[in-house]
């Protein structure tokens, strides 16, 4: 599975997204499910799945799926 696919699966699972959600174009607070509570769940799920620990700024900067993906690439998470 590609990094993109793995991250999409984490988003769908952590935010309990309905089928057919355009996950790659999601923004923080752009949908009801991705509120502050969802954000914290998502951060925990990303840390679990990719075995990373996110810094304060990374949590705050993670304002979209794309930013999250770039961030993981920056952390040298394997594709």
């Amino acid at each position: 599975m590609t990094l993109n696919d793995r991250l999409r699966a984490v988003f769908v699972d952590a935010l309990e997204l309905p089928e057919g959600t355009d996950v790659e174009n999601l923004n923080y607070r752009g949908i009801e499910q991705w509120d502050s509570l969802g954000h914290m769940t998502l951060v925990a799920a990303i840390e679990d799945e990719f075995d990373v620990q996110l810094e304060t700024d990374q949590v705050i900067d993670m304002s979209s799926f794309k930013v999250a993906l770039d961030m993981l690439r920056g952390l040298s998470v394997d594709e």
Binding site: Y28, R29, G30, I31, D35, S36, L37, M40, V43, V59
Partner: protein, 473 residues
Amino acid sequence: MNLIAPSARLIDAATGEILAGAELSAAVDRTAEAYAALPPGVVFARAGTSVPTVLRYAGALRAGRAVALLDPALDPAVLADFIGRFEPAVVVGLAEGGAGADSGERPKSYQQVDDEVLGPVWRREVPPADEPHPELAVLLATSGSTGDPKFVRLSSSAVSSNAAAIAEALAIGPDEIAPTSLPLYYSFGMSVLNSHLAAGATVLVVDGGVLAREFWQAVQTYGATSLAGVPYNYEMLHRIRWSPAKYPSIRTLTQAGGKLRDEMILAFHEKISAAGGRFHVMWGCTEAGPRMSTLPADALPARVGSVGPALAGGSFSVVNAEGAETAAPGVIGELVYRGPNVMMGYAENSADLTRGDDQGGVLRTGDLGHLDEDGFVWLRGRIKRFGKIFGIRVNLHDIEEMLRDQGPVVAVSGPDKVVVFVEGIDENAARDLAGRLAERLKLHRSGFDVRTIERLPQLPNGKIDYRSLEAQV
């Protein structure tokens, strides 16, 4: 009433626009004049975190109109029910709110108008049956996502006296810059707005909350000096290892809206003290407009767990189990607050809006606790939060405290048992916990129903939604 002192400013983080002095005053006057053309009655303001919301709110107060601050994400059916019951002259802020915010269908007897000053509104076509009481200034919905929501009625003198008392307790002067970290329709968020505008300070209007990049960018760009949060916000900041060291302009942290764990209070107190700032634990409720007490920062760490003494102009007493009222230290009972900020009463419908002061400045808080020798309040949970197991009364708050090491836990009352919701535990652990409670409380274990829950449900203000949990039992 005029909420805004001459030196007050509003900064719109989204546009960079700064409204101050004569310009701010003129903007508020313009909204006040726009209300004058409407039929009598209260203003319903869908209150997203925006400068137009603040102007529509302050304008209504200046026009002498009572204004209800409403969550823009309120279920359209609930909004429609509110409109039917309270017959507001106008519903403003139809375009407010982000994801999930929907005002619903235009109600009967209302016209949709795009007002030049107020923006898109629903305007009532016929005057309401009842005219609101002249002292009435602000209406806030009681928390609770289910059940029977009603309004708390706050008079203009309650709102202004509380704003002044908060400014005094927190030493809010014209140099302070407070970001809108909490929703404006939430009493704590409203009080941050009121106390700063009344003290001639600056309110930095920024949407998104403490997990949003825009929020912290605005804090840095405009040099915000304080941060207000509920326990949930501080838990989140702790979880992401936030440090005030990165935001040296922030000198004051305030916390209200429920009990923050002592170790968390001390951790934030230490962090902000090291940066030359202060941490204030406070206590309030919507019915008190909302602030009742503030713990002076120098009382930490010695008095961690207390919410401090009454604000200037207020006082506390305790009603003990026999019904006797006393201000003597050490007596445990229901805390009673007296002060100029106590609500006029509740309102279920438009007829209630005509009522004067039903409370006489006295508020039974529904919270158990005691006072110490210096009049500091020490809380021990809600008075009504008792469960019965085989006829024996157990304090649900105490049960939650016993299980603090399990993470987020809520105990609610079921039929002759207590149901405990614990986030993400398995069946074995649940059985063990039930056994542990039974042993501690010397009651049979069948009286404890420990259930796993993925996430405890929350209200928009971050507090636990007890009612929805009770509904599951």
